[in-house]
């Protein structure tokens, strides 16, 4: 009887088909992860050591100050490397916080529904209706901008966005038949959350994590650029752009190389966000392919 035939066993794990852009993105992210972890060993100098009295010294082309100095005569390369640590580290911490907060509350609202959901979601809507940079400015000017407060601020703002996604995911999964089966069995909400909802929500949430990480980097950099983010002498990419903007006026005197001081941090931000977005796109298209693949049979 055809009904009891065994279909072929699922194929083994193999390298994902990323394509050139995908592998390049992975390469960029691995590179930055390496830089973040080993910053003190890679960086030639301390980030806040003043090495020369000249602002925007383009260097002499030797290994000493490879990328020149910044407006206070500090080594641009070292500051970029330490800046990666601060920018990516803070953004990552903020994204994790946003997910812990947003997913927990979103799932609670989505699963309980009714009055609880109404109250939680309307409060959340109130926060979402502020442009995120404005909300961040309000919070930072009210509470100050230590590194911890920056993580809390950005984490909170992004959590309001994550909340909406988590809530609608939970709502959609809760009405699936297999959840009904679990409910009819008498399983506790906690069991259903852990076994049915969270695993099914994992792929869309991981995609959003990538996007959210990008947004966090941009928000943090914007705050730093406005002078409300990471405070000197710590370096981060956003504040490096701001501090060294004046270098663009020196291009005529010192040559194009001095423009690296403000431009390179911007390029770094660009490279991480681009790589991240490419991977998110790939993840999305892969899940869509699986769906259409099902139809063929």
């Amino acid at each position: 009887m055809s009904d009891t035939s065994i279909s072929p066993a699922p194929s083994k794990w193999h390298l994902p088909e990323l394509g050139f852009l995908g592998w390049m993105s992975v390469g960029i992210l691995v590179f930055w992860a390496f830089v973040v972890i080993f910053a003190p060993w890679i960086a030639p100098y301390e980030e806040s050591t003043i090495l020369t009295e000249k602002s925007f010294d383009p260097g002499d082309g030797s290994a000493f100050m490879l990328l020149g100095s910044d407006y206070l005569g500090r080594d641009v390369l070292s500051r970029l490397i330490y800046g990666a640590r601060v920018t990516l580290g803070l953004a990552f911490a903020a994204t994790v916080l946003a997910f812990v907060l947003g997913v927990t509350l979103g799932f609670v609202a989505g699963i309980l529904g009714g009055r609880t959901d109404d109250i939680m979601s309307r409060i959340n809507d109130a926060f979402v209706s502020f442009p995120s940079i404005m909300l961040a400015l309000i919070l930072v000017s009210a509470f100050g901008s230590s590194l911890w407060l920056l993580v809390l601020t950005i984490g909170f703002i992004e959590a309001t966005r994550v909340y909406r996604i988590a809530r609608s995911l939970a709502q959609n999964i809760m009405v699936m038949d297999f959840v009904e089966v679990s409910r009819a069995r008498g399983e506790s909400l906690w069991w259903i959350l852990k076994n049915d909802v969270l695993p099914s929500a994992f792929v869309p949430l991981s995609t959003d994590f990538g996007l959210r990480f990008t947004y966090s980097i941009l928000l943090l950099s914007s705050l730093s650029f406005l002078g409300l983010g990471v405070q000197p002498p710590l370096s981060d990419w956003g504040s490096m752009v701001k501090e060294n903007m004046a270098a663009l006026n020196y291009v005529l005197f010192y040559g194009l190389k001095v423009a690296l001081a403000p431009l390179l941090p911007a390029v770094c931000i660009f490279s991480v966000t681009l790589a991240n977005n490419l991977l998110v796109d790939w993840n999305l298209s892969r899940s869509q392919k699986d769906i259409s693949g099902e139809l063929i049979a």
Binding site: D3, T4, M176, E180, S200, G293, I296
Partner: protein, 603 residues
Amino acid sequence: MSALLQINDLRVEGRRNTRSPYSPIVKGVSLEVNRGEVLALIGESGAGKSTIAVSSMGYAKPGCRFSGGEVIFDGISVLDMTLEQKRVVRGARISYVAQSAAASFNASLRLDDQITEVSMVHGVGTKAEAETRMVDLARRMQLPDPENIIRKYPHQVSGGQLQRLMAVMAMNAQPDLLVLDEPTTALDVTTQVEVLAAFKDAIRDSGAAAIYVTHDLAVVAQVADRIHVLLGGETVEEGPTEQILHDPQEDYTRKLMAAVRPPPKRTGEGAGSREATDDTVIDVAAIDAGYGKRIGGGVVVQVLHDVSVDIPRGSAVGVIGESGCGKSTLARVISGLLPAASGEILLDGSALPSDVKDRTREQLRRVQIVMQMPDVSFNPLKTIGQALERPLEFYLDMPADKRRERVAELLKMVDLPAEFANRRPQALSGGQKQRVNLARALAAEPEVILCDEVTSALDTVVGAQIIELLKRLQDDLGVTFVFISHDLSTVASFADRVVVLYAGRVAEQGPTAQILSPPYHPYTSLLLHSVPEMRVGWLEEIRETETAQLAAASVVEIGATGCPFHKRCPMAIPGTCDVKDPPIRPLPNGHRIACHREVAELY
């Protein structure tokens, strides 16, 4: 004269994703369709029916490609056409009616704009001409109030009407060939009769040819001139309808015919082999239920009204009715997923809390539910073994090693190999999943299993196998089944007792044999008459009857005053049926009919 459409040795292959190799779907099929002729393609899912049908338009679904053979439409090779050339043919000369009309219309455009668009795009006459044709076709499709119904939006008309409007859209540009892909499968029996008849008339009147894809032989018998039987992408046999129905040459065709349950005989011979006992396991007493809580009690949309049903221990109780009658709601109320607004459910004489959250684990264990859609009733991330082990752990506190043994036993009970425990649900076919679904319910060692349309999503042959399995399980284990279905033949072949629901009320209930024989509730009578019979000419006979003509007029409405069926009832008493709730007329063996007419009038 050569055929309108000629397909020679067609081969199509497909693949799941870009990594996997192509495998054949259609393996060399040849057929032809002449002008004015309806050819039916019949077979189980995966037989390649739809793939062949859409190949007539030179179309291959995503992931599929043509690998051989030729498709010749009116002397032109379709497969050799460029996309530009195909566009000219599609819609104008060959048009397609999909299975789900609801998903095929744009929800935000008016029906008339969508229907005439095809003619406009292809430049078939003026807009005014297209509109005249549209109204004319709508009238021929027996749509009520054709001038106005086409001015509506898709959500404002019923499913059966939408399916007919879909056909109006397909025929508006006056195509030479219609491709109908399971156009009545998603409809209720009563609606199906009307839609089938409308299709048949319209095809005959327009002189177009048609390819009719279906898995339902009884439907085919009504509309097709010739039948082409397919299995696994290959032709089994082809012949005139009469010959395939009465003198099939191949074993497979005979098997297909055997899987079609004969329509319930109206002589009083039901399944009802088990004697009715007084031992009631579940007593549903005066349940009201619905959706949306209203502050201060009550519901916003009431679905079930005063439903009382006895379920005798060890019996199979069938619940039947059209969609929207509250069948699934009843199952959800009994299982506690939807707490009743009022009324009681008694399990072995003691009241069962109405909300699943308030029930004890033991109470939960004794009543299990099996869901309708096998594809979505499993967590896709868990293996079959994990899905089956959970109830063993949850209800029976079984240690891990014993659970694995038991899973193998359970799989064996539903005729599946023990290796399936390591598979994920995606690797199983629909029928296999539905077996595992049953095994999961059996794992709890329940007394009652609620089966909600468990065969509806399956092919006829596979569905018949599931029914056989249910019968065997009942004989072996003595479990009580509540079997919900819209298919009267299936219910009649399996159930000892039948409950007929209409618009959330019990119209009639009693032993199967008595339900299938007079006296009937007028609604039961309509249902019985709507089950297609597998013979040519049945459709014409049935449409002559007054019952069918009235039934077509309306859809199920919930919450009306009086008897909810009065608008469709040929025996309705004006001034009584539309005002007062019908009295319940008791007959022997717990047979009860809710009707204003005297029992003697219901023969």
